[in-house]
């Protein structure tokens, strides 16, 4: 019996995890991305020390943006500003922001 309960629990957890990853709301993301646009909404804007352009995000794959934000939060990608921003985001926030950038129309 306990084994069945454990198995059911594992199935439920994996279901909820995949659901959270799958559904991003671009409309919500538009509001949640307000901070991002300070740097990612200015074409040609540069990171300092080292100097390179802040990456283009319009039309990028949502799944990749989710992975990038999770990596910044976890410290697998080291960038102080991105880490500070990413750790404040929930899984839903990340999915919404990713959906927003991925679904943007090219101007």
């Amino acid at each position: 019996m306990r084994r069945i309960v454990n198995a059911l629990g594992a199935v439920l957890i994996s279901l909820s995890a995949s659901t959270a990853l799958a559904t991003g709301d671009a409309e919500q993301g538009r509001y949640k991305a307000h901070t991002c646009l300070g740097c990612h909404g200015a074409p040609g804007y540069s990171n300092a020390y080292p100097t390179y352009h802040v990456p283009k995000l319009g039309g990028q794959h949502a799944e990749y943006i989710v992975a990038a934000l999770n990596a910044y939060a976890a410290g697998q990608r080291k960038h102080p500003t991105m880490h500070a921003n990413a750790v404040t985001l929930s899984e839903q926030d990340i999915a919404d922001i990713a959906a927003y950038f991925a679904g943007m129309e090219r101007p």
Binding site: P43, Y52, H53, G59, R77, R106
Partner: protein, 124 residues
């Protein structure tokens, strides 16, 4: 007296012009060096990348970022960070490890020069 001072002025301007020309030339060379990647060589070196990122950097698989049209110096930074471990990714660490500085610049120049769905968001 008048003639001497005007001659001094002419020499002064000439010197200043040369000085300015030198600075302009210096900047031009520096800019060329920064964007020094060879996209034709980069295309040749990009065969391995194509497996995941697509032949022209328009990744068909959403797990892998689109590279086509991305800023060259951002792509260079990404590859350098994979090499140093600043950016941790099991697949990219292995692929970036053997690249020379010239390889990184060439690959970045190639993908940056491709057209695709990626664009810079412009709020204005």
């Amino acid at each position: 007296m008048m003639r001497t001072s005007s001659l001094t002025t002419v020499v002064g301007i000439n010197f200043r012009l040369r000085f300015i020309a030198g600075i302009v030339l210096g900047f031009a060379l520096a800019t060329t060096a920064a964007a020094g990647g060879d996209p034709v060589a980069g295309r040749e070196k990009s065969k391995v990348c194509a497996a995941c990122h697509g032949e022209d950097g328009n990744s068909p698989n959403p797990a892998y970022p689109r590279l086509a049209g991305q800023y060259a110096n951002y792509l260079e930074r990404a590859l350098l960070d994979y090499q140093s471990g600043e950016r941790q990714n099991a697949i990219m660490a292995g692929l970036a490890a053997p690249l020379s500085k010239a390889d990184i610049e060439d690959l970045s120049a190639y993908f940056a020069g491709q057209n695709g769905d990626l664009f810079a968001v412009d709020l204005d």
